[in-house]
Symmetry: C2
Subunit: 365 residues, 2 copies
Amino acid sequence: MIDPWSSAVLDYEKLIEQFGIKPFKDMMGNIKDPHILMKRGIIFGQRDYGRIVKAMREKSDFAVVSGMMPSGKMHIGHKMIVDQLVWYQTKGADIYIPIADMESYSARDIDFEESRKLAVSEYITNYIALGLDFTKKNVHTYLQSENKVVQNLAYLLGRKVNLNEMKAIYGFGGSTNVSHLYVPLVQVADILHPQLEECGGPKPTVVPVGPDQDPHIRLTRDIAERFKSKFNFIAPSSTYHRFITGLTGDKMSSSKPKTAIFLSDSPEVAEKKVKSAKTGGRESLDEQKKLGGVPEDCAVYEMLLYHLVQSDEDLKEIYSNCKNGTVMCGECKNKASSMMKKFFEDISQRREKAGDLAEKILAKD
Amino acid sequence: MIDPWSSAVLDYEKLIEQFGIKPFKDMMGNIKDPHILMKRGIIFGQRDYGRIVKAMREKSDFAVVSGMMPSGKMHIGHKMIVDQLVWYQTKGADIYIPIADMESYSARDIDFEESRKLAVSEYITNYIALGLDFTKKNVHTYLQSENKVVQNLAYLLGRKVNLNEMKAIYGFGGSTNVSHLYVPLVQVADILHPQLEECGGPKPTVVPVGPDQDPHIRLTRDIAERFKSKFNFIAPSSTYHRFITGLTGDKMSSSKPKTAIFLSDSPEVAEKKVKSAKTGGRESLDEQKKLGGVPEDCAVYEMLLYHLVQSDEDLKEIYSNCKNGTVMCGECKNKASSMMKKFFEDISQRREKAGDLAEKILAKD
């Protein structure tokens, strides 16, 4: 069976079986105009997404929470999150974007002022360039260190979480510093605070994450339950997306520049990086013509799948041409790198225009 | 040797020897117009108080930090703290009064709103009645939950304090909840934040406490040292006062109403309570006439010593008359209870007038 949406990088099916994450595809029939990341199985899992589907259908209140941790540069994999936020914005969601400066400090020793600068110049600027409309009232962007409601909620919630539990989930020990131990509660509060009365009261909330974040989602859902009688919280829903493969075939990561195409790269650099990426090609041209390529193992195909090709028909054709041995890696890379260059020309123009607005967003406080 | 200022309730000398607290009397020669609590040895110990003496002499900036934890009613023992603040106000100190609503929540499950109400109606009202002038600009009163500067400083400091250390100082274990573990850092930040640039920069700071709070003072001084290069903190100074003996001969405590005279008691009730207090009298009147009384074991004498008799001459006479067996407990109690009644008539009048101002103090935020 041919599955043009498949990926072999991580065994995501196992996650679904072992931890009670449900397949996202079960939801697809009920979602109007699903995002291509949904259609293509890149968003592969969910918890309690049914209540989000219901809210979208009934046009009732719901929220999306997706934090950014300002610690370096955004790469093209991060675009996935912004794409989802843009989609949710069209669906009428309240969008909450915590900037995790408190986490940046305890995890990376980046101080609050540096975080603020980085959040503006790198993250918010790129979010705007990628199409999120921050001028809408339903977008709530804040620095954790500036948000009293979130900080106080974190503290309130911490009364029903004990040290043993934190150790079991996060592996903390005696040498863990107190801020590092405490900050997961701030993230729990990031997710739950849209349900406080002062933010409009209890509502379905979805958190789009990578599967590595699931322990944190489970903790948040547990804590929501423990404070149900006080705040009437609805346990937050979540979706899980695959990671994007890096240029070298490993996971793309900002801390390993050779794996990543950064959103701040020039169009020429982005183009060149695509050309240098690891493909699913065979040892020789002859072999590839005979056996076909392996798009499932191809970082270039993944860029097309995740980001560059919007039309499902076009993507199917690219996939078949590879599988059949009709189109070789060189030709495919040329095409993909041109598309990437064009995308980067576009985004760098839009980023230039975004700067002024980006400055204003955190100045509101 | 006769020492009219002595007390046998706790062996304070041992504290001085074991933990490096220095005797307060070493400082007395250098303090202009020392407070009677100082002169009478009720404030018996100190750490680094020399820098406070110097600041007072040179009229340079210094701060006093003294928190209130709103969890019940103020008793006459708490008056000692307010008396010291009033004295420091005459010496030109910046006075910081954190209201420990975060601690009240984790320790007693009192929510922030309840803490605020209690702080206004009970604590601040009594502080005003006892003579602290909140209309002066140098008095900074705040709820921990409302103070972003303090909360963020707590988090910053927490990066250099680990779990092992918290366990050793506070006896925390696996079942300790995260908020309870975290809140000591908020108190550390209460003490150190007056030295931040936004609060006027590094300055000598003194924290008047009971000796049971010394572990916390030591932690604060250690943390100040760890962040010296970043904030240029001066290690905070501290003074230590004796506890007041309760009516029953044990420690006076709000949670044991039989031990305490509450500031909100009516003048008649206060008068009656003094009359019922445990004295240092002998088994029989004859014996007492022969041997004299034991003011060191007398809760009534302590009230005179700590609160009711301002003149040292008068106090010495009361002490001698007791020791010599000249004045018996009945007569002494009558005198002391009248003085207490008068004091309570006075304070209840002043408390009535204080209500409106008390409301305004926390409304500023």
